[in-house]
Point group: C2
Chain length 459, copies 2
């Protein structure tokens, strides 16, 4: 009786056609992060439960989704799988920062686990790609965070995307001015629904007149008057969305409010720095209504959408935080960072047709010609690899046509064929598996040049 080879509910296998572009993208991310001086770290997939569920470590929703881990002889309730890379990073920093020193820039790429209700495109294990700079309040680190997102997505082949920027201090300063400084949380939650429910509904909610499903328990207490709510929305929505050209007007409007001014100065510094680094201005926009994550972040905030594919949501989000390690130590460590959602980005790119679906990683298949000693194709493949050209040898000397079929199916560009005559003369035939054209009687040097030229032109 065989065991059913299915995966557990909400989990998945990643077959080669998806794993190949995925690996390519991860390699590109690692290379981008590294080129800025971010260094890799690894933390275990299993953490102590207390680290993950400590006050404030995760939202109630995330904590309900936690996977507990036990082994024989171990006590129940003590261990769990990480649900993000941020809490483990905070623990790591608290434990190791004295040896490492600041500023400390790290990246981490790995699986995280959440027992969400299984649904299409949502998995209980997914990959996060995080990078953070801790131990500095410099706008350079803020700008660099956006620059890394920009570089990573550009190198990954995303054709056009928008990084939306906001700074928590602008809204906080404005709310203080309106005399409702203590109400930032309520205002943020109302603003977060803007795209979904529209301005009038947000104004109603801020007046304590919210209706419908998403009404909060304190929804019938007014945060501000209708007039105040309209003025707020005028600034953050009507005048607070656009390119760098909207900053002078905002500086005039809000420049007399110290906290709002500090937020605007940070945004201007970031635009100046990104301009000096050659980041295209058309990829950046200010959005003072951007509220997601503002209750956690304390300065700049980022969200990134792919142009034309906004319905996939943000594929890279982040921001500045005052204190990463407060759960674990009294030391104060400010920082800034972001996370790229690899699985969401890949799903988007697959749907957009931007992923090249190939089942091979090498351009060449070397055929195993019946009757020719196996050392011949085996040696040719080794020499191609030594010349930097990936090559796969067909393992069995079956009919050559069937070997060609295998190569075509897998997506090899060329097949190298050495029959008995070629073997006698030390020559090679090269078949283009898409056009079926064949160049006969090449020397090994000619073979390498032809293939190198074709691959250089074709990629």
């Amino acid at each position: 009786m065989s065991i059913d080879p299915r995966v557990a509910s909400g989990l998945r296998d990643i077959p080669p056609a998806l794993a190949i572009p995925r690996e390519r993208m991860l390699a590109s991310f690692r290379s981008t992060f590294s080129s800025f001086g971010f260094v890799p770290i690894e933390t275990p997939h299993i953490e102590r439960m207390e680290v993950l569920t400590g006050k404030g470590a995760g939202s109630d929703e995330v904590l309900r989704q936690i996977f507990e881990v036990t082994n024989k002889g171990g006590e129940a309730g003590k261990l769990a799988l990480r649900f993000d890379l941020t809490v483990p990073f905070a623990r790591f920093v608290a434990k190791h920062i004295n040896e490492i020193g600041v500023p400390f820039k790290r990246f981490a790429i790995g699986s995280v686990f959440r027992g969400e209700r299984p649904a299409k495109g949502r998995f209980r294990e997914f990959t996060q790609c995080d990078f953070d700079t801790v131990g500095t309040e410099s706008s350079i680190a803020d700008a660099e965070t956006a620059q890394v997102i920009y570089t990573a997505l550009t190198k990954a082949g995303v054709p056009a995307f928008t990084i939306a920027l906001n700074n928590r201090n602008v809204l906080d300063g404005l709310l203080e001015h309106l005399g409702v400084a203590g109400q930032t949380g309520r205002v943020l939650r109302a603003l977060d629904k803007l795209a979904k429910v529209g301005q009038d509904a947000v104004v109603a909610e801020l007046q304590g007149k919210a209706k419908g499903d998403e009404v909060e328990t304190d929804a019938n207490t007014a945060v501000m008057s209708e007039d105040q709510a309209r003025r707020l929305l005028d600034v953050v929505v009507e005048q607070g969305r656009g390119g760098v050209e909207i900053l002078p007007n905002l500086e005039t409007l809000l420049g007399h409010l110290p906290q709002a001014k500090a937020g605007l100065t940070n945004l201007r510094d970031v635009f100046n720095l990104l301009g000096a680094a050659g980041v295209s201005e058309s990829s950046l926009k200010i959005d003072l209504a951007l509220a997601r994550g503002l209750d956690y972040y304390t300065g700049i905030v980022f969200e990134t959408t792919v142009n034309g594919w906004e319905r996939f949501g943000s594929i890279s989000s982040g921001g500045r935080y005052d204190n990463l390690v407060s759960l674990f130590t009294d030391r104060r460590l400010p920082g800034v960072g972001a996370s790229i959602g690899l699985d969401r980005l890949l799903a988007l790119m697959e749907e957009a047709g931007w992923l090249e679906a190939k089942a091979t990683t090498v351009p060449i298949m070397v055929a195993n010609f019946p009757g020719v000693d196996a050392t011949v194709p085996f040696g040719v493949a080794a020499r191609l690899r030594a010349a930097g050209i990936g090559a796969e040898v067909y393992p069995d000397p079956i009919q050559v046509g069937k070997q060609m079929g295998y190569g075509s199916t897998r997506g090899h560009r060329f097949a190298v064929i050495v029959g008995p005559d070629e073997n006698t003369n030390g020559l090679f035939n090269l078949r283009d598996l898409s056009t079926r054209q064949e160049q006969k009687g090449l020397s090994l040097g000619q073979l390498e040049s032809v293939v190198t030229a074709a691959l250089g032109a074709g990629q």
Copy 2:
């Protein structure tokens, strides 16, 4: 009250100084596997318990060490963390092979989990790097497995190592000839102790006269006579260990035994293929006493030790198996593969002093000179990166000497310094952080050339 930032027992953080060479090695492995046409796949860290504990999937010891996984609303005992990458691969193949087709060559790199008793250098989470070819019985796939081990270790910077080869059929043929064909398991377990207890003790054990701690329950039944045991050891130990030059003698001794001859022919084919591929013969040796894994493998077997560091044990092992997927389907799929033990290899290389301990991934730190606009160093770093030179900007305009101290500690090779005068003239100073020598007044082009030349020569 802060939460203790320690990791759970038996687990560990990997800080940058170790994670940097580790990432470099993994990138090298991926590149090697890919250049042979092995394609990546991923399977979840969590598998259904039944898949992992199904009859024969893991040894009793491994099953005792399994980590069970549960989430709220989930039933206990249904899910667990994978303890190797082989069982998930078998499940993957059983599920997907009809779409993918054979031959199928895959690699997989990932964490596996075993609740072993914590001990120095032994961790409950470690990384395996597996590659396998399924759907062929060709000696080409056998030879390629050794070639991949050879290439991966060479490119990873291991100076000298030995891949020991055996083929199960040699021993099986010999035992059949001695009239004790059914006793292969007992013989293997006795042979496995050879290095530890010596020949006389192995002979005693085969006679059913074993003594001491490791006595088996059936240890007092004789497997063979003393004379047979001596003849066996003469062949497998005295005449069965060495380079390819021992094959003719073995072929004379055992050539009349069909199964033994098939094993020897396979070893000769593998040597011929590896010779044609330029694999150094001095890295290969035959060892007919190599018994580990022989109870699982059915043809060729590999074990790899680093010369002079044999006490670390095998850093890459593998072999040929008759049927990967028998647990999950009736289809028969033979294959061959190996696993590289990344953590053991890194521990060895660290102890041998072969790992360059650096806390940075970039050669250049760009100083943030007090009083010079931050866009200047930020822009310089972007231009260096565009020229392919990794660069990190110090985020805060603190005293330059302190910035240099940071760069030296992290292991940056150079610092680029732009003071107010250089900024006015569009020039750059370059300081070598090890020699403290400084080249002043370089243009950006000169800066790039000097750095590129120095890095090219230095690496």
